[in-house]
């Protein structure tokens, strides 16, 4: 910079040179940022490593449960007892008249037919979803559309509190209290069955569906509702034709995450389903689910033998099923957020 043309700093006194008559200026202090110390970069890298631990965790989970299940595919001694085909398809067992899929892992001839377990899981899941979806979405609709702000501020934390109840407590409640009530009410033959455990399971599913649906309803831009009302639609028409369709991706995501929870939940079904591996369409029969089977049997198996391997195989199936459901649910949420975020 040229000294002569440099502008004076505010409040700066200028000396006038006697010989040239020019003003001399002192330069303004230069601000210089010292570069960040090297170890700050190191911190960023270690933070990144920590963050990658979530990815590592998922990978390790899959690797280590699949590793224990893998001998099913190649180990001769285990394949002598059980193969994937024997698990998935009905077999003609000695002493039986027709082919059947039977789960009797500790009988003299171990039978690892998983059809009863899959049917059991489906039955419990169907019951819990048909109770949980209407209640979860319905209460989300009420809280987001009808409730006054004060009511909402009370109801929302209460439903979050329901989410906080440990599943073992829900299982306990279903086993000790609900099962008796239901039996007196409906006259079930078996006290513990798919209906009791499914309804108890829905208590765990409802908060999941509620939270995401409520968020979805509230994310719908006000202009949608206002436009519909301005066109003369009644409130119920606005809700069914405008609000629900607009919020449907979020609700679907909530239902998906609830479904994942229902399939994987263990303690409730372990305690309240009766744990009988029966193939039947009757919801009042006792059922045994995939998750409960692992929980009930793993403690008694010998490390590395066929039964142990099969239980890890069931775990791998559960992991993959919930992984797919959750990925779809998560993707739907993201897409909805991007879409509605752009629209409002």
């Amino acid at each position: 910079m040229n000294r002569e043309t440099a502008l004076p700093m505010p409040g700066e006194r200028r000396k006038q040179s006697k010989t040239t008559g020019r003003f001399a200026t002192t330069r303004p202090p230069r601000l210089e940022l010292s570069p960040a110390p090297k170890w700050h970069g190191l911190v960023e890298w270690s933070l990144r490593l920590f963050a990658a631990s979530a990815v590592l965790a998922i990978a390790l989970i899959l690797i280590f449960i699949a590793k224990e299940a893998a001998p099913l595919l190649y180990d001769g001694a285990i394949r002598h007892e059980v193969t994937l085909a024997k698990m998935w398809f009905s077999q003609l067992w000695p002493g039986y008249d027709e082919a059947a899929s039977i789960w009797q892992p500790v009988s003299e001839i171990p039978k690892f037919g998983i059809l009863p377990l899959i049917i059991g899981t489906l039955k419990v899941t169907i019951v819990s979803m048909s109770v949980g979806v209407p209640l979860g979405v319905g209460s989300a609709l009420y809280v987001s559309q009808y409730a006054r702000p004060r009511t909402r501020e009370i109801v929302k934390p209460l439903i979050e509190l329901l989410a906080g109840i440990p599943s073992v407590v829900l299982g306990f409640f279903a086993l000790i209290v609900m099962a008796t009530w239901f039996q007196n009410l409906f006259g079930f033959d078996s006290r513990l069955n798919a209906i009791v455990s499914g309804v108890a399971l829905s208590f765990a599913v409802i908060p999941v569906i509620f939270t995401l649906s409520e968020e979805a309803f509230r994310a719908v831009p006000r202009s949608y509702v206002e436009a519909s009302t301005a066109l003369g639609a009644a409130r119920w028409q606005t809700i069914t034709r405008v609000l629900l369709p607009a919020a449907s991706p979020g609700i679907a995501a909530g239902v998906a995450l609830g479904l994942g929870r229902a399939i994987g939940e263990t303690m409730i079904v372990l305690m309240a389903s009766g744990n009988a591996a029966i193939v039947s369409g009757n919801f009042a029969d006792s059922v045994r689910t995939l998750s409960a089977t692992i929980a009930a049997e793993l403690a008694e198996v010998v490390f590395g033998e066929a039964h142990y391997t099969v239980l890890f195989y069931l775990g791998t199936m559960l992991f993959l099923a919930t992984f797919c459901i959750n990925t779809v649910g998560d993707w739907t949420i993201r897409r909805m957020k991007a879409k509605l975020g752009g629209a409002s």
Binding site: F64, I65, L141, A234, F312
Partner: protein
Amino acid sequence: MFVRTVSNRFGDAAMALSSGLATLVVLAILTIILVDVIRNGAAHLSMTFLTQAPKEGMTAGGIFPAIVGMVEMVFLMTLAGVPVGVATAIYLHEYAPAQSRLTRLIRIAVANLAGVPSIVFGLFGLGFFVQFLGAGIDKVFFAGQKVFGQPALIWAALTMAVLTLPVVIVATEEALRAVPNELREASLALGATKFQTVMHVVVPQASAGILTGMILAVSRGAGEVAPILFTGAAYFLPQLPKGLSSQFMSPSYHVYVLATQSPDVDATKPILYSTVLVLLALTFVLNIAAIVVRARVRRQSGLAH
């Protein structure tokens, strides 16, 4: 014009009524569970119940060892899991480029980790921690003697730490999001480096939210049973856990065993109910604390904008 036909009135009323009814049913479920547990559990609850060991085949005495076991497990879990969770959230929110492949991958992993069934965590804990890490440690340090290669406090705590990781990450990220950007910009404008800004401005502002995540993780860890079934929980132990490789008792596991495997259900019922009450009270206190802290954080960040 708004047409107030009969069918519209009926539709409106039905919609309001059915959604209101759904809400009432959900609240009724919560109330019924609470009332039943409090009514039946309060009778046996006393100071001695909290400070005594179980006696006479679980039909008398208290749950002191279970409470100690849970506190130790949860403490170790917090120690191992919360720093990782907080670091992950700080990276995701403060450092990571929004659209990079790694960021997307981490987000998908976190969302999925939250959805992995708890029994799968139990399998993972057994397969990875007990049989891989534990047996490996035994081979190297204990000449093949079984010390860590069996279910133990440390493995249960680490399994639970992985399980609660998403809880901490989600809560911390929400807290970081609530910190106004002006604060970051002001700090950077004063010449602070990114790390100084994060450490001295952002994290202190978000500390209440981070605390929320920690509380929720503790509540979750105290209540879960499936992950500790095979990784360290024991039904009955004559003494308190001696070290990281001991097994431990836990109120949640205690509830499961008392409810399902008791030979004399009526004799153990009072103890069962009181244990449930303790467990429920603990998780509720923690959850309410989390809700209160979070509400305060939200209000503050609302004012700041």
